[in-house]
């Protein structure tokens, strides 16, 4: 049992040589490839991550630009709608004013026409009355009339007037 703590120099040297040779050979034939592949993959992941972040930043930039453009378009549309509404209101008022003016003009014209026709009718009636009166007077003068004759004459005149 006392040999437990007695180092064997030969075994030590052999173990050191064995271990160092194994470390060298594994580095050359195993770890080099594995570490290389691992680092390559990590670089690829980092690169993809970087690209994804850049793409995201670009997308956010484009989104912001589009939102700005959309807001601008919305504002422009609102302005144009307001302008169109104002223009429509003005045109409506103009049309209403025009129509009112036209109606008034037509009304005035109709009144004038009515007045003219009324005057004309009155003149015609006056002429007819004058003529009838003259005719009646002629009849009165021409015949010796009594009351029945006078009445008959008036009736005749009136009939003539009616017939006309």
């Amino acid at each position: 049992m006392e040999d437990l703590l007695k180092p064997d120099i030969g075994v030590m040297i052999l173990t050191i040589c064995n271990f160092l040779l194994l470390a060298y050979l594994l580095k050359r034939f195993a770890w080099k490839g594995i570490i290389g592949a691992l680092e390559k993959r990590e670089q690829q992941i980092a690169s993809d991550k970087q690209q994804a972040q850049e793409a995201r930043a670009d997308a956010e930039k484009i989104k912001a630009e589009l939102e700005e453009k959309l807001n601008r378009l919305s504002e422009e549309t609102s302005q144009k709608i307001a302008q169109a509404v104002a223009l429509g209101q003005t045109q409506r008022e103009q049309l209403l004013a025009g129509a009112k003016e036209e109606a008034e003009r037509m009304l005035a014209q109709a009144r004038e026409q009515i007045a003219a026709e009324k005057d004309q009718a009155l003149a015609e009636v006056r002429d007819e009355i004058v003529r009838t009166a003259v005719l009646a007077a002629k009849q009165v003068v021409r015949e010796d009339i009594d009351a029945s004759h006078a009445q008959a004459a008036v009736d005749r005149v009136l009939n003539e007037i009616k017939q006309k």
Binding site: M1, D3, L4, L5, K6, P7, D8, I9, G10, V11, M12, I13, L14, T15, I16, N18, F19, L20, L21, L22, A23, L25, L26, K27, F29, A30, W31, K32, G33, I34, I35, A37, L38
Partner: protein, 253 residues
């Protein structure tokens, strides 16, 4: 053969007595096991690291990559910083080698070479070499020697501090060897002692010996599980402490 001899026979290394030109070669059971483990590791890892088309091959490659990531991100970079990246292959080999040799002792017929002080001392010397190389590589000879004295130490304390720090570094390396040796040895001694309970009790009374098989085997299974844990734990501790010591030399006070 008494109990002590039985235990010693199982634990101790055996020289095969091979000589070359009258000089006895250090061909022992432990050195043969170490060599065999090395050959198996080399062939297996070289095969795994090759490009594979089969699913199983790719799975093994991925497992190996995960192992390398674990050593790099769990051991080397946190303790040695970016400067330790060049030492990654060494630590990958160190952990796997110690673990494989530890686990080889669990296979019936094989022995745990790490329960041999010569083997653990050799591994500790390699780690000492790495610590020394790290210091010399990153600080040069003068810088490495200066690193033993913390900055701000009064001049009159330097003659006291310097040898203490040098001895401390040497002790750290020695402790690496002793820790691994003692842990692996004690586990196996306990396993053998538990088995010997059956025979000792059986010599006293045969029927009692037969009955003692059950508690002894239960304890044996428990200790074997513990040994498995210790095999992983000691490989990790050895590698971690080597990385910490090398890191402390690279990043001095």
């Amino acid at each position: 053969m008494n109990v002590a001899d039985t235990i010693a026979h199982h634990i101790l290394d055996h020289n095969w007595g091979i000589t070359l030109g009258g000089i006895s070669l250090p061909i022992t059971t432990h050195s043969v096991i170490i060599f065999s483990v090395s050959v198996v590791l080399l062939c297996l890892l070289a095969w795994i690291s090759r490009p594979h088309t089969s699913r199983a091959g790719r799975l093994l490659t991925t497992l190996l990559e995960e192992y390398v990531s674990f050593i790099r991100d769990g051991l080397v970079l946190p303790n040695m910083g970016a400067e330790g990246k060049g030492f990654l292959p060494y630590f990958c080999t160190l952990f796997l080698f110690i673990l494989s040799v530890n686990l080889a002792g669990m296979i019936p017929g094989l022995k745990t070479a790490t329960s041999n002080i010569s083997v653990t001392a050799a591994l500790a010397l390699c780690s000492g070499g790495i610590i020394l190389y790290s210091g010399l590589k990153f600080h040069g000879v003068i810088g490495f020697i200066k690193g033993f004295v913390p900055s701000g130490t009064p001049m009159w304390l330097v003659p006291l501090i310097f040898p203490l720090e040098v001895i401390s570094t040497v002790i750290k390396v020695c402790v690496l060897a002793i820790r691994l040796f003692a842990n692996m040895l004690s586990g196996h001694m306990v396993l053998i002692c538990l088995l010997l309970i059956i025979f000792i009790v059986g010599q006293m009374k045969f029927s009692a010996g037969v009955l003692s098989v059950f508690p002894a085997m239960g304890l044996e299974i428990f200790m074997t599980c513990l040994e498995l844990l210790v095999a992983f734990l000691q490989a990790y501790v050895f590698s971690l402490l080597t990385a910490i010591f090398a890191g402390s030399v690279i990043h001095t006070h």
